[in-house]
């Protein structure tokens, strides 16, 4: 079975632009979470969506938004990009119940010039 897939793999943008990152969860998983990982740190939680509704939001500015579609895939949007948004963006899926592990995709490497 396919794992969590993310696209694109790499992306280069300039300051002020916007970006859309995409994620397809493991088949049967209804929950998708997004994380940002900068070099030398652990992933930081951005959003969780379950059954197309936002269930949690981390400490990120309103420039970050996300949505989940009826097929449970998800998009992360970032507007007005800043140099500090350069990071690895990770998507994780789970079946949406408590005490079940999240499974991660390989991420999108976003570089801001």
């Amino acid at each position: 079975d396919a794992g969590v897939t993310q696209s694109p793999t790499h992306l280069i943008k300039t300051r002020g632009q916007h970006v859309t990152l995409r994620c397809s969860p493991i088949s049967g998983h209804k929950s998708v979470s997004w994380y940002q990982q900068v070099l030398g740190q652990g992933p930081q939680f951005i959003f969780q969506y379950y059954e197309k509704e936002e269930r949690g939001r981390g400490n990120f500015p309103d420039r970050f938004s996300a949505r989940q579609f009826p097929n449970y895939s998800s998009e992360l949007n970032v507007n007005a990009l800043l140099l500090g948004d350069s990071a690895l963006y990770l998507c994780a899926s789970s079946d949406g119940t408590a005490n079940q592990p999240q499974h991660f995709g390989d991420g999108t490497r976003l570089s801001i010039l």
């Binding site: 652990g42 992933p43 789970s94 999240q102 991660f104």
Partner: protein, 114 residues
Amino acid sequence: DQQVKQNSPSLSVQEGRISILNCDYTNSMFDYFLWYKKYPAEGPTFLISISSIKDKNEDGRFTVFLNKSAKHLSLHIVPSQPGDSAVYFCAVSAGGTSYGKLTFGQGTILTVHP
């Protein structure tokens, strides 16, 4: 304020010996604990987890121990293999509607020498 800390940035172990990775947390509301392994250019891979009702969970060469009173989590790898060389992250979550939010430590780089 870091809620999850991995105080050892790196660990070097000889092949065949035990690797012990440690993690401390501050919030007693956390009730589900996980370990992930990460290779360069890949996403984190789930290794093993434990809920707060247990103090030990084993899966093959990997054992996770939970000491709730000390708010301490450890991962034991026995025997260690060169292929185990990677960055290891502990992660925690709280119950209720917060279970979808994982809080990660900073990671420990494990190097297993042949």
